[in-house]
Amino acid sequence: MTALDEPLAAPAAPTGASAHGAGAAHHAVQRPNDRVAVYIWQAPVRITHWVTAICIVTLSLTGGYIADPFLIPPGGNVMTTIRLVHIITALTFLVSGVVRTVYLLAGNRFVRWTAFIPTNRTQFTELFRQAGFYGFVRSEIPKVLGHNQLAAAAYLALFALLLVETVTGFALDGLMGAEPGATAFAWLRELLGPQMLRLVHHLTMWLILAIALFHVYSCVLVDHIENVGVVTSMFTGYKFPTREEVVESRDGGPEVLEQAAKRADA
């Protein structure tokens, strides 16, 4: 589709068709139990993931001090330093967010926006099947290479919350007279008033932390169940499903297998 979509350049079958194509291809898979390395997470996605993780921790700690400076006894210009760290981290996070957004628009099929927003029936039912798995209603986990739809929904909420945090953060920075927040978000300060702005900024932090906690837990759990290297994939970019799993996955298909083979040859 785009230059960034390199792992999937070859096949004619569009993403949506792979779910149906999978059934037909089922019996055709050679050596179904062999494991293949499938490149899922592109490098900038992995980097922004860890940058975001570090930023969230740093921003939460420094923000916690700014909101209620009780942890550190006076001595030295602590508030200056911590606010500076908070702002620099926020700017780092902003850059990382922009990069991730580019990949949301133009990344490969596992990281693009289509992986997050359910657009067809298969994706919707997958959301409920995954929820059923967590709820002990189903024993099987839906077959998927990238994000399952429940996780995707959680990350979509996370993206929205991070956006709220960014906007309110820069609006608050604008309160101090710092541009561009001072002019760009004057309307938001008018709308909410500074106290509500701070309340939203602070409460959203807790929501983000809650989602982050859920994320860590579900990743470890799914890593344990799927056994394809979910956690390590965020470092290396690769997951190691069987050939059959690749073909049968909702976001997989024969073309992904082909691509993986090509990558292995190269």
Partner: protein
């Protein structure tokens, strides 16, 4: 009183040339103009007639009037406001009843489009305006009338700007600000009370430049309301150094440390209190040891609370709940659910392992079995694979796990 101009009136009230020039310099400062503008301001004031003012009060405590009346030793600003040609102000009038009404209407006729309308207090719209009557008529009607003939309308004090205290909470009288009733030339000077310096500065700006000073989205003059109080506060170094008073009267409070933790709203409020100060320039609230309450922010009674805490409660009707309680509970709840979930998952994994082990144990002595044994058979593959010799278990697992990967792998 003879009208021979502002300057003559000031001199008659005892202002010296020296203090007049100081006043001009102070006005330049209050308007955020370079000091080089002081002579121009002096010349403009000298050449001006006494500006007619009609001062209307709605639902107000009178604090804005008090702010410049109650000077034991009137400073130049108080003198300046004093010598303005105040044609009507219900607290200053020597007459009452119909004569008072006549004073206002005749002034409006005489100085049509040539007077300043100053409005203090909120204007109620509830009960057809019956909550506040001026001469038996709803205040809204009178204000609209007065503003229509005015050169400009200045709302003084927070109540006149956005309804203030009468509009707080459930707003029983339907109080609101003056903006809707005023014409295009409108200026808001919020504050509880307004700082008389800012009122004088706006009038001086008008006399000097023949227009109102530049304003922000809420019509507040940028010169006075363009910077954060926190940025001008004398306690700011303590803020930067993490030195905070944590209780009223504690050591930090006695040493003049920052009042941030006691709910000071200086970091969120635009105003010039720290630089122009109150009470003949002696002090302002943070200097006096009380945090800023944010009175210059629109709708501050509702929007800036609580006065002595940093953040309001996120839960309606539970004012003592803090955002960290809610957030902590949320995070703790998520962690708790996960803990329980992890135990549940552990139980499930264990059961599957036991089933798989049982299958193997049962299968080995009996040799190949027909398919579908008990409940586990529902998930297992043809039993032939289960019955393989232990050495081949690896391969068996691969085959075994094919349609149901989790079970097969967990069985290992």
């Amino acid at each position: 009183m003879q009208d021979d101009g502002l300057y003559a009136a000031l001199v008659r009230r005892g202002m010296t040339r020296r203090s007049f020039l100081q006043f001009s310099a102070a006005m330049a400062a209050a308007l955020a103009l370079p000091l080089s503008y002081a002579p121009r301001i002096a010349a403009a004031v000298e050449g001006s007639k006494r500006l007619p003012v009609i001062w209307i009060r709605g639902q107000a405590c009178g604090g804005d009037t008090e702010a410049f009346l109650r000077s034991s030793d009137p400073d130049t600003v108080a003198l300046f406001l004093d010598v303005l040609d105040i044609q009507y102000h219900d607290a200053f009038l020597g007459v009452a009843g119909g004569d008072a009404e006549l004073a206002r209407t005749s002034a409006m006729d005489r100085y049509r489009n040539g007077y300043f309308a100053v409005v203090e207090g909120s204007i109620p719209s509830g009960a057809s305006g019956a909550y506040c009557l001026i001469g038996g008529r709803p205040a809204a009607d009178v204000v609209r009338e007065v503003c229509a003939g005015a050169l400009a309308t200045i709302a003084v004090g927070s109540c006149a700007c956005d309804g203030g205290a009468p509009a707080a909470g459930s707003n029983p009288t339907g109080a609101g600000g003056v903006r809707a009733l005023a014409g295009a030339r409108y200026m808001a000077l919020p504050g509880c009370p307004v700082n008389p310096v800012n009122l004088a500065a706006v009038i001086v700006h008008y006399l000097t430049f023949n227009e109102l000073p530049p304003a922000d989205l809420a019509s507040r003059p940028l010169a006075a309301y363009g910077d954060l109080i926190h940025n001008q506060c004398e306690r700011r170094p303590h803020f930067e150094f993490g030195e905070f008073a944590t209780e009223w009267g504690d050591e930090g409070a006695q040493r003049g440390w920052c009042l941030y933790k006691l709910g000071c709203k200086g970091p969120e409020t635009m105003g010039n209190c720290p630089t122009v100060r109150y009470g003949e320039k002696t002090s302002w609230n943070v200097r006096a040891g009380h945090g800023c309450v944010g009175c210059m922010t629109p709708s501050f009674w509702n929007a800036m609370g609580p006065a002595y805490k940093r953040l309001p409660s996120p839960v309606p009707f539970l004012p003592n709940v803090t955002v960290d309680m809610v957030g902590g509970a949320l995070l703790g709840g998520v962690a708790g659910v996960m803990g329980v979930h992890a135990v549940g998952m552990g139980v499930r994994f264990k059961r599957r392992r036991m089933i798989a082990a049982h299958e193997r144990a049962a299968a080995v002595p009996l040799g190949p079995l027909p398919p579908a044994v008990g409940d586990a058979g529902r998930r297992s593959e043809p039993a032939a694979t289960v019955g393989l010799a232990p050495a081949e278990h690896g391969a068996a697992d691969e085959a075994d796990g094919r349609p149901d990967a989790p079970v097969g792998r967990e069985g290992r």
